[in-house]
């Protein structure tokens, strides 16, 4: 095995990077892949909470870098998927505790017996972001259909181009089809038109995402959730399968029928 290292980043904070990492990793694990997640947000860790592993942390990534433990000891096995691990960030240190070459070394150590390494990048374009992309074979950019998030994503694409990091792929998160239909939100097409990069998934707004994050059980495990379905599709595309995009307009139920009637008037 030679792992593919995937970094999830966004520029702007709060667009759903950590949620995307937890869900993508869980979906890959559901497909039988061996996955290691790395929380790159040193000092502001939260991937452990979203994955429901916060009370199992003994060692973190800075302990590995500074030689206080072996890499294996900092890898926390997931509760549900035995082939999924988390390397947590240190909460009491800052970004300067890690360097780009540390990240490259850790990822290279993981490569031989892992299928995917998924790195959660901190917001921003400074040191922490540089660390997170240093080892990346592939970068996924998460954005929301909002002008400010798209502008920051654009900035990140520019930096990745300048660093010759290959072509990033785009996840549009928290799209609300009703708002788009009423011209109150940027559509996926508007976002793509500006960024001009390859789309790998559109995740609809879905309250079960928040519920799942708070419970420490990623939404991908909920077979009924549309956001969960979107993340399962992204995981399939990451594995090289050609999966058609979901039709987000196809909703059933009384409420959407009423919305549709209202829209027609």
């Amino acid at each position: 095995m030679t792992a593919q290292v995937i970094t999830v980043t966004s520029g702007k904070g709060g667009v759903g990077k950590t949620t995307a990492v937890a869900n993508l990793a869980a979906a890959l694990a559901m497909d039988g892949r061996k996955v290691v997640c790395i929380d790159g947000d040193i000092g502001l860790r939260n991937l452990d909470v979203v994955m429901g592993l916060e009370n199992r942390i003994v060692y973190d990534i800075v302990d590995v870098i500074e030689g206080r433990c072996k890499l294996r000891q900092a890898m926390i096995r997931d509760k549900h998927y035995p082939e999924m691990y988390l390397i947590p960030a240190a909460q009491t240190r800052d970004k300067n505790a890690v360097s780009p070459s540390d990240m490259i070394r850790i990822c290279n150590d993981l490569r031989p017996d892992t299928d995917f390494v998924v790195i959660d990048s901190p917001a921003g374009i400074e040191r922490g972001f540089r660390n997170a992309i240093a080892a990346a074979d592939r970068v996924l950019i998460v954005t929301n259909p909002e002008v400010s998030a798209v502008r920051d994503a654009d900035r990140v694409v520019g930096i990745l181009e300048a660093e010759e990091k290959g072509n990033p792929s785009l996840i549009i998160n928290r799209l609300n089809p009703t708002l788009v239909r009423n011209n109150d939100m940027l559509s996926a097409e508007d976002v793509l038109d500006l960024l001009g990069i390859q789309l790998i998934g559109v995740v609809p707004e879905d309250e079960s995402v928040i519920i799942g994050s708070n419970r420490g059980a990623p939404v991908v495990t909920d077979p009924k959730s549309r956001a969960g379905q979107a993340f399962r599709n992204i995981a399939k595309r990451v594995q090289g399968q050609d999966i058609p995009f979901m039709d987000l307009d196809q909703e059933n139920g009384l409420w959407s029928a009423i919305q549709r009637l209202k829209g027609r008037k």
Binding site: R130, D152, G158
Partner: protein, 230 residues
Amino acid sequence: MNDFMEQAASLVQIKGIRDGLLATFSGASWEEQWNALVTQIDERPSFFQGARLAIDVGTQALKVNDLVELRDLLSERNVALWAVVSESPLTEQTAQLLGLATRISKPRPEERRQFTETITEDTALFVNKTVRSGTRIEFPGHIVVVGDINPGAEIVAEGNVIVWGRVRGMVHAGSKGDRSAYICALDLSANQLRIADEVSAMLKPQKDPQPEIASINDEGHLQAELWRLG
């Protein structure tokens, strides 16, 4: 070891300037020079700790990888590379792509060229890609962009600016005061245009964009009009 240090000091000279430190590279090979710089830093880590460093690389043509490598080496030593001064257009372009400054507070004498009526030397910088948010491209001539200029990007030319694509960022033509400079684009829905010292923010996104040209009209106002053939 001492010999090595002396050699390193002769290859790269470091001095304090108003904005931090300036390392001036001699004409040796790029690898020798950055090695010399890193050697000097490792020798006196406390002096360099947290420093803002500008480098003057002379005529050396540097690619993105060269500068990225150096910046990473410096950032591992807690030294922030913020500016690259160069006489090579390629290096300047590389530095700008990486969001590094290409001017330090003391302007180089040759940049102080007196501005004559219009740009006499017809030099143009070709940018064959979309200019993204956070990128600033400055050039003492014309700038031609084959691609879009996204919101948050800045194009500043002493001459004209021609964009084969959409303009949604800020474009400044005639930046040194040339009022005859113009800006033209396939879709000119910029959030701000400037020609010489005139600023216009009146442009709104168009439903059905058509090529436009913006210039300063007879009344002295910046105005955009549709491009007409013939």
